[in-house]
Symmetry: C2
Subunit: 256 residues, 2 copies
DNA sequence: CGTAAATTTGACATTCGTCAATCAGTGTGG
DNA sequence: CCACACTGATTGACGAATGTCAAATTTACG
């Protein structure tokens, strides 16, 4: 397979148009919402922001005064222990809300880092309560997003706590592919997959070397292909069964 | 140490009084809230419920039509893989809100089981939006609780993914002791600790046998005592350092 | 007292981590 | 164009942490 056979990576422009015309909202993965609500969202939006690949979106040490909605690109949430061991808590795709947990901070916090070049919409943290007050519906949506993200972490905890290496990898590949698919980041069966093996190891709670060997094994079994940053699932059923992780119908998510 | 030396276990009566007089609200760990809000909470409360030790509060298969606030006792959230491996996602103490994640369910769900006899206040799930609408402040509080619970799961994920057995046990002991302390379940330095080693193993992602050996080791080192369901921390600093898990000032939490 | 559940222990198997070296791709400067 | 450096991927050898099995012991409780 030659390089030209891959779809071109997606580089949406920085969002400079009104939220009403947001290209993300056109994706069926997101909940249709009244134009009143959209206008309210826009009035609370304080700007946009670009963070290049590898850059810090939110520092692990001090929470940012802003909240974000990821508009394009991939990122991840993580925590590090004092001796440097890092655990990735979850990956972020377009539409994901960033920084909500710190709103109610008690010192505990986590960092957010960009994997690819990213763009996001920003909101001032201290206007959050106003948003709830002005539009309870949007408050309800934010709760929804918070609850949904907790469920993602729940799944990751089951993975780290109770799955072996092969099961972890199988689960993660299916999970990321499915999420990319919903976000419109899959073309002709190939999903953008900008992660290196260190990312995967840190997300799964495995060492780099063991992650490599496990990936290799599943690849040799013909379960998936990974090439130049693009992922194709060859045996979805086998991976789902191995990872004991099955797709379920998902309702459209709110988009703030 | 004889049995009489231990404080008596706490068995608050089933809540039968108005929320305004709720004994939980008297605890400084909870946020003081206006009496308007308290009355609204009471008007949304649909009843109380008792689940005995070991009983199912929420089935893993189908979400319940109710939400709960735990009023007394200990419980835990969990998921099981299809071959029976179980992961405990977190422990629940009085004041914790139960079932919010399922509000936005997509099939994925988790179970909740009582460790001790428990009592809770119930709310009808389909009135949740009304609550947000009627009192945005309470919606904000619910979001707060959701975000705070996610942070607890984040910590557990770091534990399962990146801490070794001793560090996991140290972290869990400190974590549970501190939470019990805040909830007023510590007397004379002894905290209620109703868990068996299988609970601990399932929470930490370890096997039962290895959990036992690790507990034993830390106990022989004189870091803690565990006796007849009561826990005393003998070397808090050592446990915090070992677990790389330090207490931070916590603000009062909302109570729904 | 008798039974079941929970804890404890030892022996052993397996998974996973660590170390160290090599290989492949990419970009840089000459 | 090539030598070089750098990062990420790959592999093998080995050791340590953790899991599994089976049995003994203690505790809880009717």
């Amino acid at each position: 397979m030659k390089f030209e056979d891959y779809p071109a990576p997606s580089h949406p422009p920085r969002c400079a148009h009104p939220c009403e015309e947001c290209t993300l909202r056109a994706i069926p993965a997101f909940l249709a919402v009244g134009s009143d609500e959209v206008r309210t969202i826009q009035s609370f939006r304080s700007g946009t922001r670009v963070v290049e690949a590898g850059g810090v979106i939110v520092s692990e040490d001090r929470p940012s005064p802003q909240l974000f909605t990821l508009y394009s690109g991939w990122a991840f949430r993580y925590k590090t222990l004092s001796d440097g061991r890092r655990q990735i808590l979850g990956f972020l795709l377009p539409g994901d809300f960033i920084g909500l947990q710190d709103e109610f901070a008690d010192g505990h916090t986590h960092g957010v880092e960009a994997v690819t070049d990213t763009t996001m919409c920003s909101f001032e943290r201290d206007t959050l309560w106003n948003l709830f007050h002005a539009r309870p519906k949007l408050g309800y949506h934010i709760t929804w997003l918070a609850a949904r993200e907790e469920k993602l972490v729940d799944d990751n905890l089951v993975t780290a706590g109770r799955r072996n290496a092969s099961e972890r990898v199988a689960m993660l590949l299916m999970h990321l592919y499915r999420r990319a698919e919903r976000a419109g980041m899959v073309r002709d069966g190939w999903a953008e997959f900008p992660f290196n093996q260190q990312h995967i190891a840190d997300a799964l709670g495995l060492s780099l070397v063991h992650t490599n060997k496990t990936l290799r094994r599943l690849q040799r079994l013909g379960l998936y292909k990974l090439d130049s940053g693009w992922l194709r699932i060859l045996e979805p059923h086998a991976l789902e069964t191995l990872g004991d992780y099955f797709e379920r119908p998902m309702q459209p998510l709110p988009l703030i």
